[in-house]
Amino acid sequence: MSSTAAGLLQVGFLLVALAVVYRPFGDYMARVYTGTTHSRVERAIYRTARVDPGSEQRWGTYAQAVIGFSFVGVVLLIILQRVQSVLPFDFGRGNVPPGMAFNTAISFVTNTNWQSYVPEAVMGHTVQMAGLTVQNFVSGAVGMAVAVALVRGFTRDQTDRLGNFWVDLVRGTLRILLPVATLFAIVLVATGVVMSLKSGVTVDGHTVATAPVASQEAIKELGTNGGGVLNANSAHPFENPNGWSNLVEIFLILLIPVCLTRTFGTMVGNRKQGHVLLGVMGVLWSAMLAVIWTAEANGLRPLEGKETRFGIPSSALFADTTTATSTGAVNAMHDSFTGLGGGGTLLNMLFGEMTPGGVGTGLYSILVMAIIAMFLAGLMVGRTPEYLGKKLGRREVTAAAVSILAMPTVVLIGAGIAAILPSTQGALNNPGPHGLSEILYAYASASNNNGSAFAGITVTGDWFQASLGVCMALGRFLPIIAVLCLAGSLARQKKVPVTAGTLPTTGPLFATLLTGAIVLVAALTFIPALALGPIAEALL
């Protein structure tokens, strides 16, 4: 079989697998967030943590809970890294330096998983398991909680309550992420992924670093986190040994972002509303896959930075998926991609991570973009726009605009400053436009909470550690605050009935509008920067 035919068959198999789980898993997640009973373990957790699962929160309290939880997550993770030398399984790797500990803590709490450290040399197993793995779970659950709070804004009528963050967080972790991660960690072990508590293993007289990979690998993909247990990430044979493990990992990355559109449709009582979002996500994901695949197949050095066992199709499929979902795991080095292929992975992030985006973050980002699209449509016909029975007034559109514009602002200011700093020149791994792409990619990745890199760039200097840390925090929490404010404002409204003048949001017209809005916002904000980086490289 030709490589292309095998690749297409793999894409088809992946889509069928997702289609099979779409309904049951999407509906299961809807039940998780709408159910009224607490399990025994959950009740014990609420008792231990002294939170009242029965009391619902206003948007402001919900937002403070999200930020408070994330804040203590950052503090705890910094402490764990700074005292690593006294923890078990540290293998003499010592305490993580302060700048690196700060950057890594923000990175994992914001679901970015940008890595300025070399895991084999810096992180012991205790920090990897009790620190990083924990944030792999809970940062994903936070994203889903915020998405669900926004959906409740649409489904609820004249209330100021959005739900209870602690309940959403605990349920997302225990009922969705934990069981699926456990199951697939075992599947990954069966495909050959390593699960060792030792620091390394001797192979033909050489020491190769090992780690408890399988447990972290499963949640790394499922939670769209992406931080490698080992430096080469999912290109490392211990993390991703063969074609089977590769497919399982891609499936895990897409599972929740894709199925959440069903959860959304089920929760708003009209599944077509979810299908149309999935359709838009699918069209852009497929288009970018075609771009990256074609570009890589026609590169000058197509196998540079790629593993033989994955070749071009499986590397392109992984690269498209990881950058379209805010995951950031890599099974090939994007820095060695062609101008067009690498530019494709960059553009995927600059779409704002909604095709299909990360766990929860993808759903709330595309819902916000839907509001922008309906607002634009409203301007064209001169009518107050509505979406899902809620009027989109000044407050709603402002919150949506703030949420959408936060990322481009942070990316362009961060990359702009970095590009003019004299010290940056020495941090680059490639000359010319590709060097600028390395800078742009770093800030796009941090601000979109993706975490993949054009990894040749050296980011261990103080400027990069601090500025990328700030970008990750702003790129995560500015949109979250705006989205929760939006949710609060929507929930307070009375539902408006559907009339003949209501623009339907389940058909091709709306899908086109939404796709157009995603592409247009990215194009208007980023074409100048892209022209100097990847576009210039592709044309040279």
């Binding site: 203590v72 602690w166 050959g192 390593v194 033909d204 020491t207 290109a235 490392h236 089977w244 033989t308």
Partner: protein
């Protein structure tokens, strides 16, 4: 206390409980399951053939170039318009052509480009076949016998369509060692 302070404190308590569950019990459970015999051939990666580390000497098959030093892993991260790297690739091509006694245009792509992990155990069938005459000569074996070993250590695609086929150099060199 302020709302934020109260929420942050509640957050700390929730986080500690979730750390116990997802940071300690979960990896411990996966580790325990990975010990089940038959589930995983080699969860500890002892003498694994998953990674490829180049052996020096004409009697061995060579892996792809690695951009890193053990025990770390990673790629070169060189872009395709990087002229300094062009020179590195050209030099690799010339050296391999000379080593194997073939024209430069017969040196395959994977032989001159660094893998993503720096530990890629596989090479293309083409690169393995280019190496067969030298390896056979150095080991005093027939080329047919060496080609048999290459064929016996070639991994196909998963289920016939997942990933790409490749010759596992680590396994091949061990088989060669045993056959000498």
């Amino acid at each position: 206390m302020t709302t934020f302070g109260k929420q942050a404190l509640a957050g700390l308590r929730v986080l500690l409980v979730l750390t116990l569950i997802t940071g300690i019990l979960y990896p411990a459970a996966v580790w325990a399951v990975s010990r089940i015999e038959g589930l995983h051939a080699n969860a500890e990666a002892v003498d694994t053939t998953l990674v490829g580390i180049d052996r020096e000497g004409d009697q061995w098959f060579h892996t792809r170039p690695s951009a890193v030093t053990l025990p770390a892993s990673g790629g070169s991260n060189k872009g395709e318009l990087n002229e300094a790297y062009d020179a590195v690739v050209a030099q690799r091509r010339a050296e391999i052509a000379q080593r194997e006694g073939v024209p430069e245009d017969q040196v395959p792509q994977d032989a001159v480009t660094a893998s993503a992990s720096g530990l890629d155990p596989h090479i293309s069938d083409a690169y393995a076949l280019v190496q067969v005459p030298r390896v056979a000569r150095a080991n005093g074996m027939s080329e047919d016998r060496v080609r048999e070993l290459v064929a016996g250590n070639t991994d196909g695609r998963g289920a016939g369509f997942l990933g790409e086929p490749g010759v596992n150099v680590t396994a091949l060199n061990r088989a060669l060692d045993a056959a000498r």
